[in-house]
């Protein structure tokens, strides 16, 4: 590139004065408006976080806001002005989530361990509620407000009207009209007669009989429930919580459940109460992966297959792509651009769609490959474990070779023609020229791309999930796993697939994947020395 001529000093001096005033003026106002928006949002966030007593995020938010203001309102720190916007997103959505994954890997978070211990105790108390024998009767009136249902009752002791909903415990209903032994009206609520309730149908009746209105803030006090819509009775938990001893006692059987280390209340005979709560479990997720038979078997199988899948994918598509690049990169050939445009198509077509299309093509009963190409054959492309593995590779080669073709073509064209000529003069055959001269040069630039491609395919969720869903399923395993599952699909199914979500375990495996990928990439990048001239 040519270097632009520097204008004469006195002219530039004059122009600088004008230019600065104009550009600084406009830019400054844009900056001011943007910063006003950022500050407003930040303040809103600080207030919102404060009102929820989330002190740590609030402090972080305050610090971030101060930093942003300093960076943009001081003349120095120029580099930071360019880095801060991206860094904020990076820190919140990448660095934080990675660290948080690391934390989750050491917890038992998941279904049955979703919340705090207090929530678990409250849920257990609610679950074990039974009608108190000979409890007082509450003459009941049902009222609705939109979708909300309320119980209007007369307190059996004080005979005063009270109102309560699922979320709000009973409280005095001042302003309610009482006639005889019931409440008949309450401002803001529509009172339902028996006929009205029946008209609302089965769904409403179910909702009504499941509704529990707490008597007070304390779960021990129990709640009132109704079966008839006319009378409510007191229900109280058979369990009682002893905060000092951290135990739950079942008054019916006398069993004492102790809070265990794994986030559940456990009886002396080993009986476990669900739900439990979220708690740190140390390395037990990692240990489970390697020692629990129901997880270890599938995990090791998936682990090995992930490597085989990623390596064969890269090798296969690289060989096809390089071969095509060498064959089609001949200056005497016509239509090279057309070939390139069309061979680009599998790469351009969204991969998740391609995998679904291949699933159709490879369908055993109706698919084109069996029906037309093989004339009515009965090949179980996706249902047989080994065929499914082969199919996944074929599809992935199809997806991957255009990329390899493109980069190999680019790299080939960058090799100077005199190398070939020099080789030819020395009497080398075309194969020798390729093998001994061009390939080593190609690998210099392509090796890092192959590593990147390996890392990508190691986590190539789409091909697997959209083509086979990880299947065919291994029915002997206790977790949801199949013959073509790779680690990332396995983890996804653990965390979000089935009925039993295991966030903690899934995060532990995610961390293992990360360590594996990072190690391999680091070692191979070091060997290719791609980073050596980073200055």
């Amino acid at each position: 590139m040519t270097v632009q001529q520097t204008p004469a000093p006195e002219r530039s001096g004059r122009r600088r004065g004008v230019g600065l005033a104009a550009s600084a003026g406009k830019g400054f106002y844009v900056k001011l408006v943007l910063m006003a928006v950022v500050d407003a949002l930040g303040l809103y966030g600080i207030i919102a976080l404060g009102s929820q007593h989330s002190w740590v995020p609030m402090i972080l938010m305050i610090v971030a806001l101060i930093v942003v203001n300093i960076v943009y309102f001081t003349p120095r720190l120029t580099a930071s002005k360019y880095l801060v916007p991206g860094l904020i997103f990076l820190l919140v959505y990448q660095v934080f989530t990675v660290l948080y994954s690391g934390y989750l890997a050491f917890t038992n978070y998941g279904d049955g361990h979703n919340s705090t211990k207090e929530d678990a105790v409250a849920a257990l108390l609610t679950q074990s509620e039974q009608r108190v024998p000979d409890s007082a009767e509450y003459p009941l009136t049902v009222a609705v407000q939109g979708n909300k249902i309320a119980f209007l009752v007369l307190d059996p002791g004080t005979k005063q009207p009270e109102i309560g909903t699922a979320d709000e415990p009973l409280q005095p209903a001042t302003g309610a009209t009482v006639s005889g032994t019931r409440v008949t009206a309450y401002p803001g609520w529509q009172v339902l007669r028996l006929v009205d309730m029946l008209q609302r149908g089965q769904a409403f009746t179910n909702q009504l009989t499941q509704l529990r209105v707490p008597i007070s803030d304390k779960p021990e006090d129990g709640s009132i429930r109704t079966q008839t819509g006319q009378t409510a009775y007191v229900y109280r938990s058979t369990l009682s919580y002893n905060a000092a001893a951290d135990t739950l006692t079942d008054s019916a059987t006398g069993t004492v459940y102790r809070a265990g280390d794994t986030g559940n209340f456990v009886a002396p005979d080993g009986q476990v109460l669900e739900p439990g709560w979220r708690t740190g479990v140390g390395f037990s997720n990692f240990i489970n992966v390697l020692s629990d038979k129901s997880i270890r078997g599938p995990f090791l199988g998936v682990f090995v297959w992930t490597f085989v899948f990623a390596i064969l994918t890269v090798l296969g598509s690289f060989v096809i792509g390089l071969f095509l690049a060498v064959v089609l990169n001949d200056t005497r050939m016509r239509g090279r651009r057309i070939y390139r445009s069309l061979l680009l198509l599998p790469y351009a077509f969204p991969a998740f769609l391609s995998a679904l299309v291949w699933q159709g093509l490879m369908n055993k009963d109706f698919g084109w490959i069996n029906q037309v190409l093989l004339g009515g054959a009965d090949v179980d492309w996706l249902g047989d474990p080994w065929m499914a593995r082969l199919s996944v590779l074929i599809v992935n080669w199809w997806l991957g070779f255009p990329y390899m073709f493109l980069v190999a073509t680019g790299a080939l064209q960058a090799i100077p023609a005199d190398i070939t000529e020099a080789g030819a003069i020395d009497g080398a055959s075309p194969w020798q020229i390729f093998r001994r001269l061009k390939l080593p040069l190609l690998m210099v630039s392509l090796a890092p791309l192959l590593i990147t491609s390996f890392a990508f395919n190691f986590n190539n969720f789409n091909t697997i999930y959209m083509l086979t869903g990880g299947g065919p399923k291994d029915l002997s395993a206790s977790v949801d796993v199949g013959s073509t599952d790779i680690l990332i699909t396995f983890v996804y199914k653990l965390a979000f697939g089935g009925v039993n979500k295991q966030y903690g375990l899934a995060s532990a495996i995610a961390i293992i994947i990360f360590v594996v990928v990072a190690l391999i990439s680091a070692i191979s990048f070091r060997r290719t020395r791609a980073l050596e001239d980073l200055n």
């Binding site: 600088r16 002005k81 991206g86 071969f323 001949d330 029906q371 960058a414």
Partner: protein, 310 residues
């Protein structure tokens, strides 16, 4: 940017075949030996590459919109599947398409902007922690965001209470998540390209009175415009293809993306819904395929540059 290795200089003394060849009369044998077999290989590769796409195009126009009905290629032509796509309130394809495009475009533009800003800083300023910053970006890049999906899910459900606009189930929330991955993936690539723009250009502009912001927006960005287009295209494609994060973030059918919506649509009744799915695929892939064709010249350069040096 080029990937040339140092080569010993050799006098070019070999006579040029291709010039003399064109003067000879056409001979099939010689033609086949020179380029004909190459065309043969090319054609086989083309069939392998394109057939699935031709198949899906044909299926989308098929009158019998099932998997079996699609096996006879181009035996009928009807737009019924396309119409059916937009007349199913339970599977609002129109929304999925718009969501994917909207989320993709916003993410792509913002990604390029954020990473260009960062790359400019790394390329043009010398500050403390610069080298460490670049290295840590490369490290962070090794951790695919995909792996943190559980944490992302929990972070978004936490954000729900404070900033409902970027909480779970919102498109903006998803965009923010994607932007978290913006710096890691693209900064290093752009950094290399920014280094190829001579600093003398900046300096002369500064002497003319331009501030660093003006140099960045009006000079440097324009000079690397092609690679910016490639980076935004690749990040658009990345967003379009993302299933994992989109599937845990967006649950309401109207806010879902193509990947999530079409997958659950077709996996429900695979062979019966084939034709409609094919039509949906064609419409969904069209923008990307066209963009790829327009930008292919730059894509090759962008791809090779990725992990080579700057």
């Amino acid at each position: 940017m080029s990937v040339v290795a140092p080569v010993p200089e050799v006098p070019a003394a070999v006579p040029d075949d291709s010039v003399s060849m064109s003067k000879r009369p056409f001979n099939f044998g010689r033609w086949f030996k020179a380029t004909g077999w190459r065309h043969l290989v090319g054609l086989v590769a083309l069939v392998f590459a394109i057939f699935p796409l031709v198949f899906v195009l044909s299926a989308s126009f098929s009158a019998v919109a099932t998997l079996t009905g699609s096996n006879a290629l181009f035996s009928s032509f009807t737009l019924a599947s396309y119409k059916a796509l937009f007349n199913d309130p339970l599977n609002p394809y129109g929304w999925w398409w718009l969501n994917s495009m909207w989320i993709g475009v916003v993410t792509a533009v913002a990604t390029v902007f954020l990473s260009a800003l960062a790359a400019y800083a790394f390329s043009r300023f010398r500050f403390r922690g610069r080298r460490a910053g670049l290295l840590s970006l490369i490290l962070i890049q090794m951790f695919p965001q995909l792996l943190a999906f559980v944490a992302i899910f929990l972070l978004l459900s936490g954000l729900q209470d404070v900033f409902p606009a970027i909480g779970l189930g919102t498109r903006w929330g998803l965009i923010c998540v994607y932007l978290g991955g913006a710096l890691g993936v693209n900064t290093y690539l752009l950094y290399g390209f920014f280094n190829t723009v001579p600093k003398e250009i900046d300096e002369s502009a500064k002497i003319d009175g331009a501030g660093h912001a003006r140099v960045f927006f009006t000079i440097t960005l324009r000079l690397v415009a092609p690679i910016l287009a490639v980076v935004s295209l690749l990040s658009f494609v990345g967003v379009l293809n993302d299933f994992v994060i989109a599937s845990i973030t967006l649950t309401d059918p109207q806010s879902q993306t193509l990947a999530v919506g079409l997958y659950s649509f077709v996996s429900n009744q695979f062979s019966q819904r084939w034709g409609i799915f094919a039509a949906g695929s064609v419409l969904g892939a069209l923008p990307v395929v066209l963009l790829f064709q327009f930008l292919q010249r730059y894509i090759v350069g962008g791809l090779t540059a990725g992990s080579v040096k700057g």
